[in-house]
Symmetry: C4
Subunit: 317 residues, 4 copies
């Protein structure tokens, strides 16, 4: 077993994870790149950034939240108008039922909030006018917030990177290499792409305590001018590699975790983008090789990149 052996490469201590952050059955980094961590000791609303949570929310949920928020505000203001008295909303037929009065107040509220203000219903009396005036200001502020959120959602730099589901241990030159494949899946273009692999080994120290050690996994090519096609990250398992002594069984039995970090300049956003992910030993396939995922078009005038083949691999003898 590899755990007891001396490592030739030096472990690194500036990953931001502690030696004792090792967790049984857990992982350090989730597949989506977030840290497998919970912060406590501060109220929830101080611990989250509402703005960024709304930016990262799925589009459907985001739209639903706005709809609910819109309804809630209108319910609130409808109640206020009703309490003041619907006779102060000229144009409303006050001989109707309470339900109809409240719905009328609701729709007057929505016409005020969105500033559509048809005017077939209009405020009269000091109090109702003050509330309506405040509501229309609030409406404009709320939609300023929404405009900001929507722009923020659109313009948030994202790397749009596709990762292979598995990391492979493939034959490479005269030895073996650990391989992960990536590609951009949108019509964006990354330049000056930097990739870093770090392996976390969960070891036992001399006292039998679980400790975590981090080692860099140097890549054959770690910096690409331009991510035009796909890119296979290759860590050659040379004798200096922290994985040098790992046999197929070691890979199967040890809880290694490979942290992947990519950083590039995206010319869609004209900004730096980055993406993290992590592979656990469950995702490791031993003795396999990625199949090509690009080739020439039938008329030879351009290159074709098949995104569905990002994880295509084949067992090798």
């Amino acid at each position: 077993m590899a755990q007891g052996q001396k490592q030739k490469s030096k472990n690194i201590d500036n990953t931001g994870f502690g030696a004792n952050s090792a967790v049984e059955g857990g992982r350090l980094v989730n597949a989506d790149g977030s840290i497998n961590l919970k912060k406590v000791g501060m109220p929830f609303w101080q611990r989250i950034s509402v703005y960024h949570s709304l930016l990262r929310m799925k589009a459907g949920r985001f739209f639903l939240s706005i709809m609910l928020f819109y309804t809630a505000i209108n319910v609130f203001f409808a109640s206020v108008y009703y309490l003041i008295g619907v006779q102060h909303l000229s144009g409303i037929d006050t001989s109707k039922s309470t339900f109809e009065e409240i719905t009328a107040a609701f729709f007057f509220s929505s016409q005020t909030l969105t500033t559509v203000g048809y005017g077939h219903v209009a405020p009269n009396g000091l109090l109702t006018n003050i509330v309506a005036s405040t509501e229309s200001l609030l409406g404009i502020l709320a939609f300023a917030v929404v405009t900001g959120l929507i722009y923020g959602r659109f313009s948030r730099p994202k790397a749009y990177l596709l990762f292979s589901n598995n990391m492979l241990i493939a034959p490479y030159k005269e030895g073996r290499a650990l391989m992960i494949r990536i590609a951009t899946y949108k019509n964006n273009h990354l330049t000056d792409v930097d990739a870093q692999l770090t392996v976390a080994l969960h070891l036992k120290d001399d006292n039998g305590q679980h400790i975590t050690r981090f080692y860099p996994l140097p890549l054959e090519i770690s910096k690409l001018s331009s991510l035009a096609l796909s890119w296979t990250l290759v860590h050659a398992i040379s004798e200096d590699s922290p994985l040098a002594s790992y046999t197929e069984d070691d890979f199967a039995n040890n809880k290694i975790e490979v942290l992947v970090y990519l950083r590039a300049f995206d010319d869609h956003f004209s900004n730096t983008v980055q993406q993290r992910t992590s592979y656990t030993h469950h995702q490791l396939v031993y003795g396999a090789r990625f199949l090509p995922m690009f080739g020439q078009s039938s008329d030879g005038s351009f290159t074709v990149l098949s995104l569905d083949k990002i994880n295509a691999h084949q067992k090798v003898a």
Copy 2:
């Protein structure tokens, strides 16, 4: 022929293009800087970024798209109002023809969507009110999107670089040099400008297979403090150059492609901008020299840069 010869300079493998991405009759990078590539294997809408496509769309097409979208939404809501019944739009003369009822519903819809809400037509009845209330919210959200898009279009960093149409092989010092000329054509200013030339040579390997090899073309000056005037990129074809052995015929017969990459800081946008382009052998002119494109103003108080002379060149003996 140059193809069979040994190269003194070392080829590079971090361009992001594969050795076998060579395509007969095609090119790697298009003149507008995009990669000559098609991605497949994912649904279209997952492969494109709608936001960025709208940012890059020509202004006319962008405006037309908005007009069409606006009309389509109004047609949809007009249909809904008509189906509920135009008698729920008080103010509409319901004794008119169906066409006139539908157009009235259409214009009510547009007044609701834009929140202009004159009010000479106004919703009555629960259903129509709900639809109108939803439409006005939708209108505000849609225009939040449009505001974001318009701001995004304006503020998207662009290099505004003009390239010469041709690359020249010109006499230089005691030998020859490959030359390309650039200038900024707007009232913007680039600082810390970096230029990189890479040549792609489409060769045959020992088995007669087409392979592509990439070589950097070092520049006499590759970094400029400030792109004040025009800049002629000069690669001296010394004996270390990958093009050292190329004769006039070689340049005419071999499908070389020169990839140009520029990166700078733009003080209009206070952001990094970059631009790529590529020259194929069709654009190469052998034995020519660029003519000057700037000089003093007639009163000697400022410099004049003639943008129409960016490609001006002259055959030399």
Copy 3:
């Protein structure tokens, strides 16, 4: 006393603070990172950036400012409408009292400014129409400003860093070290974190004049790939340290100030963020050690970071 002693490390003169900027009883940098400085010699409005002041204002004050501004503009326009004559606002009952006429003008103004425009009150006559037309334009411009401000407030990159209240002198290896602890308290993530400590020593020169000297305090780890958990900044007080000769009494009696500067890439904002703070000798605790602030969750599947323990420390013998 340490002041008279020779320093082994070299002082630095590019901190931006002068040698004679030392102030009795004052500090160079405030806890919030701002410079303890007042600029004079220019009118106030030229010395501040209104936009950035509004961006940094507390949310409550910001909202209040908008409310006040909104009221002020409406008061102004109500006065103008009243001076022109409320009979030019058709729909207002001009048989009412002056107060009621003015409030009616006020609410007409607010309906115009927010573009809600119910229309039960509407302008007639050239002058009133011109004013109303101008006011609605102004309203749209004002809310464009507000939209920009609100987006600017949201999207302003902030580091969301929590600092320990105290800096500790703790036992470290065979000697002592100065320690400060930081953590991110929101759901943001910092990568490529750089930390710099600089100490300002207020000394007396040979003539008994107060002078300030700055020395870098090298850190055991000064660059972190990722600020996943908490980070204890450790300056080992080796014999090369500018604090090498400081005894517990020296730390108590000398007005040292430790300037802390952090810079990182935040993937919430996809932007560089930075934060400064400063510790004075009042915040120094001698002979104490930070207590751990993270550990495993009870089921071992993730790590728990307790933000309320950021300053938790314990006296050591």
Copy 4:
């Protein structure tokens, strides 16, 4: 005279200015940092970036442009409504004069464009409805543009740097130094400030032709961690300096131009900012020294920076 002498330092050719861009009586860079250059050979509207010109326009002119634009659009649409026939604007008194009809159409147009839509005047008939519907869309798009412009104006990174009006040749250590003083004049804060001085010497070559040569002027401190107070840029005129042989007369008689370039990270904008300026020999003062511009407050608790003393200097013997 210094012109004929050999320079010990090497001239640089990557300034972006050509050797023959020297102009009699002109300068290379204007005081506001723009290049003293005119571009021709392309239509005006292709040569300017409208967006950025609007961003840099003075606030007053910007506001005036919007007012004019607003009026022009309303005049246009008023004409259209008038041509279609004001009887299609229900609510307008068609028994009035042409002038009154046109102004009524104008105000209806403004109510549509701003989406205030009171509704006391409302469109009827297909054509008028189509025009009004289009105008309200246009209004929303126009104000999306304005929102973008206003946000762009606010958020455009600027360095807010104040420069001394003069550059001084002051006694320094055992020799002389060229000095320029800068300070930030707003409540912003610059970190990692880089400064570069380059001198342009307009010389005569062996054939009596005017040529321009550029030399870097190394600074005693060229990088500041933080621009907290003021900063005096000091180029010591050592024997390696391109100005080593210049006497007081040489400085008075030779058309030297000193190009100043600053680059920093601004934590107001969380962005890189830069500023250029240039000093001509007219701004040089020989044998003077800057007077201090900061000191302690009267109670000693903070530092006071007097911006009005930025250029304060004193002749020295």
